[in-house]
Symmetry: C2
Subunit: 156 residues, 2 copies
DNA sequence: GATGAAATCCCTGTAAT
DNA sequence: ATTACAGGGATTTCATC
């Protein structure tokens, strides 16, 4: 499952924690010494804070953001998927197994799943969706631009 | 703008590059020495490859993945936004200015924007959407679970 | 032209204040 | 939380294939 337990009490962050998270969001591979300089603390204290944020579960992981276009994924689509009666679990499995689905949320409402697809071509869209359309109705939107790229929520 | 130019020729990755990206996706703060061990290369060669992937634009940035629940965002919503005539740019600005919108794509089709919201409560949903509903029709879906969390596309 | 090896330098983590 | 110190990692240079 993708669910992890949320802490009973949300973590309370001070100004330094917020600055630290922002710095890590901008460049997660910065040395602790540099992070320390940015937040105005000593290196050991800074390292300790990073560890604490990880232990608290605030930081899930440090990761890399890939540019899909640099890999030849010229197209991005957002697809709403409404499984036919009795096909819900199967549809979920199919989506999970197709790596071009880079993200999928199960949501309330008529459309059960909302997914993001990376594609090399418009032909590939058809090819991939055909594996889903036997078991679900789909509704596709092609991404034209991204006014807000994944960003941190307010940390207040 | 959020647009950056895609390279004319997509980068071609060998097996080592793919392993490297996967390792970085799993933990972007791993020392180069550890990455080198994982991909079976020397540390300098590994560091060089990481630099090349950045220069090629394959790696956009190293970043941190936050658990919104650990910060008290108990709710996640995906909202489709269809601006009223003449309100498109204003709606885009409003969305960009509200930090609880952590992601927003402009798409083809009837609904112009598809956005992701982090929320502390269901009341906050109303509060935030009210800033949009004067200028757009919205359609909200609450995230119940995430079968596929952001993952790398196929690197083949 | 790119990879591996060795030396220097810097960073990280520990312990003590 | 900082400082000092010891250990390990990173980067540069150089030699190699």
């Amino acid at each position: 499952m993708t669910k992890r337990l949320a802490p009973a009490t949300p973590a309370t962050l001070d100004e330094t924690d917020r600055a630290l998270l922002a710095a890590l969001a901008a460049d997660a591979r910065q040395p602790v010494s540099e992070l320390a300089r940015l937040v105005g603390l000593s290196a050991p204290s800074t390292a300790e804070r990073v560890r604490r944020l990880e232990a608290q579960g605030v930081i899930e992981r440090f990761t890399v953001q890939i540019d899909p276009r640099a890999l030849g994924f010229t197209l991005q689509a957002i697809v709403r998927v409404k499984p036919l009666p009795g096909q819900l679990h199967l549809v979920e499995d199919v989506i999970r197994r197709i790596p071009e689905f880079v993200e999928c949320d199960k949501v309330t409402g008529d459309d059960c799943f909302i997914c993001r697809l990376y594609l090399h071509s418009i032909e590939q869209l058809d090819e991939i969706l055909s594996k889903v359309t036997e078991r679900a109705e789909t509704s596709t939107a092609i991404v034209k631009s991204t006014p807000v790229a994944r960003r941190l929520p307010p940390l207040g």
